[in-house]
Symmetry: C2
Subunit: 255 residues, 2 copies
C-alpha cells in the first residue's frame, strides 16, 4: 500500500508545490508509482506539470465527494509512473459544503482507500493555511514533509505548524509522523546561512539533506509545465531535488 | 479621514507583508499618519517591525470583537507616525467565532470607524487565502493593492483574485477599487521579464511603477525588525519601495 505524505507549511511561497512536483517526478523516475493530490484551490500542480485545468472534468472535489469515482479522478502526466488528481477553484466551495458533516475530517482518507493499492507513494500539495481540506490531508497522511525557506518570516510559523500537527495526531490521526523538514530557496547569503544554522540546531533529527538551492531553472521549469527532472536535470535545482528525493525514498524504505 | 487599503494576493510568499511594512514606513517618513492592521495569524508585520508579539495584550482580535477598545489596540513602532494593530495566532479561532453572526463581514469596518480620524492611511496585511477576515478587510477598504511576483504560478491566481474583488464590490462594498498592481521580487531574468511583459499588457491601467527588484537587504531588514527605510534606504529595495510609496501617495492624493 502507498505511503501518504502531505507537504505542508502555513507560510506562503516557500516551495511546497515546486517540491511536490519535483520529488514526485524523481521518485517516479526511480520506478515507483506516484500519485499527486492537489488540495490547493490555486491548482498550481497541474500547471507545473503542463496540464490544462479547464479541460479536466474530475478534480479533487470530485474525489472527496464521490469515493466511488476515485479511479477516474486520476490523470496521467508526461512522466511515466506519475499520476495526478487536479485541484482547482471548485475546492473553495467544498469546505463550506462539508463543514457541518459528521466525520468531516475524514472525507479524503475514505476516498483514498481504493487508490492506495495502485501506488507506492501519494504526495498531497496543500494551501498556505490550515483549512478543513488541509486537516483532511493530515488525517489521511502517514507523515508530513515541511519545506522551510531559509528566511526569517518562514521561521516564525514553524512552531504554530508543529503544534497543529501534534493536535491532529492527538485528536484525529495517531499515526501522523514528521517524515522530514528540508530547506528551500537556499542562497549562500549570511542571512540564509544564519537561518539554516538555527534550523539545523532546533530540528536536526528531522532535517533531510541537501538544502534546495535557489535556482531560476526551477521557476522556468514550472512555466514550461515540466518538472526539473525533464527541464534541466543537471541544474542545481535538478541535482538537489534528485538527491532529496533519493534520501526520502531511503527514509520511507519503499522497495 | 484615512484611506483604508488592503494588500492582498491569494498566492503565498509574493511580498505582501514586506510591502505593507515598507510602503507604510516610507509614507510615515513623508509625514503622513499611518496605521498597519495585520489580519494574518502568522503576524509577520510585528516581527518585521521589531515588536515582540508575546508582550502585546490587545491584538487585531481584540479590535474586531471590542470596537470600544480600538484606540488601545494601537501600538507605536520605532518609526514616527507609524502605528500598528498586531496579528497573532488568536486570529485562527476568531473566524469560527464570528462565522454565524449577522453582518459578520462588517466587524472590522465597524471597529475601524473610531480610528480613521487619527490617520491619513490604513494599510491592512492579509493572509494568502480568502477567509472571513480577508473579506472583513475588503469590506472595510477603499481600495486594494496587489503585489505580484513575476513568476508563472503567481500569474495563475490573479484572475481568481480579481473575480473575488468584483464579487465583494457587488455584494458588500461598492466603493472597493483597485489602487494598483505592482511587481515584486523582480530579477532581470528572461522568465521574470516575460511575466512582467504579460502583466504590463493585461493590467497596464492598474500597474504602479517601479517594480520592486529582488534584493536580499529586504529579507535582512525583516530579520533585524526594521523597515528598509531604516535598515538600508540606499539599497535597491530601499529605493524601489520609496519610489513606489511616493507614486502611491500621488495616486491617493493624500495631502
Ligand atoms: N529553489 C527555488 N529556487 C528558485 N525559485 C523557486 C524555488 N522553489 C520555488 N521557486 C519559485 O518560487 C515561487 C514559490 O514557490 P511555490 O509556488 O512552489 O511555493 P508554495 O509554497 O507552493 O506557494 P503557496 O504558499 O502559494 O502554495 C514559485 O514561483 C516557484 O517557481
Ligand atoms: N523584493 C524582495 N527581494 C528579496 N526578498 C524578498 C523581497 N520581498 C520579500 N522578500 C522575502 O521573501 C519572503 C516572502 O515575502 P513576504 O513574507 O513578505 O510575502 P507574503 O506575501 O507576505 O507571504 P505570505 O503569503 O506567507 O503572507 C520573505 O522572507 C521576505 O523577506
Ligand atoms: Mg503551492
Ligand atoms: Mg505575509
Amino acid at each position: 500500500l502507498a505511503r501518504v505524505v502531505s507537504i505542508i507549511n502555513l507560510k506562503g511561497g516557500v516551495g511546497k508545490t515546486t517540491s511536490v512536483i519535483n520529488i514526485a517526478a524523481r521518485v517516479a523516475e526511480l520506478g515507483l508509482r506516484v500519485l499527486i493530490i492537489d488540495i490547493d484551490s490555486q491548482g498550481n500542480c497541474a500547471t507545473g506539470l503542463g496540464i490544462d485545468k479547464s479541460k479536466v472534468e474530475n478534480t479533487t472535489k470530485t474525489l472527496v465527494l464521490n469515493p466511488e469515482k476515485a479511479m477516474s479522478c486520476r490523470y496521467s502526466t508526461d512522466i511515466e509512473n506519475l499520476h495526478i488528481v487536479i485541484g482547482d477553484g471548485r475546492l473553495i466551495s467544498l469546505e463550506q459544503e462539508i463543514m457541518a458533516d459528521l466525520g468531516r475530517e475524514n472525507y479524503l482518507a475514505d476516498s483514498l482507500e481504493s487508490l492506495l493499492p495502485h501506488y507506492d507513494l501519494v504526495l498531497i500539495d496543500t494551501p498556505p493555511n490550515l483549512n478543513l481540506l488541509s486537516i483532511n490531508a493530515l488525517s489521511a497522511s502517514d507523515g508530513v514533509l515541511i519545506p522551510v525557506q531559509t528566511e526569517y518570516f518562514a521561521l516564525e510559523g514553524l512552531a504554530m505548524l508543529t503544534n497543529s500537527i501534534k493536535e491532529v495526531r492527538k485528536r484525529i490521526n495517531p499515526r501522523l509522523g514528521v517524515d522530514g523538514i528540508f530547506l528551500t530557496m537556499h542562497a549562500p547569503t549570511i542571512l540564509n546561512n544564519q537561518v539554516a544554522g538555527l534550523l539545523r540546531e532546533h530540528f536536526w533529527e528531522h532535517l533531510v539533506e541537501p538544502p534546495i538551492r535557489r535556482n531560476i531553472k526551477l521557476a522556468e521549469a514550472s512555466s514550461h509545465g515540466q518538472p526539473i527532472t525533464v527541464f534541466a536535470p543537471k541544474s542545481n535545482g535538478g541535482e538537489d531535488y534528485a538527491a532529496l528525493a533519493e534520501n526520502l525514498v531511503a527514509r520511507w524504505a519503499i522497495v
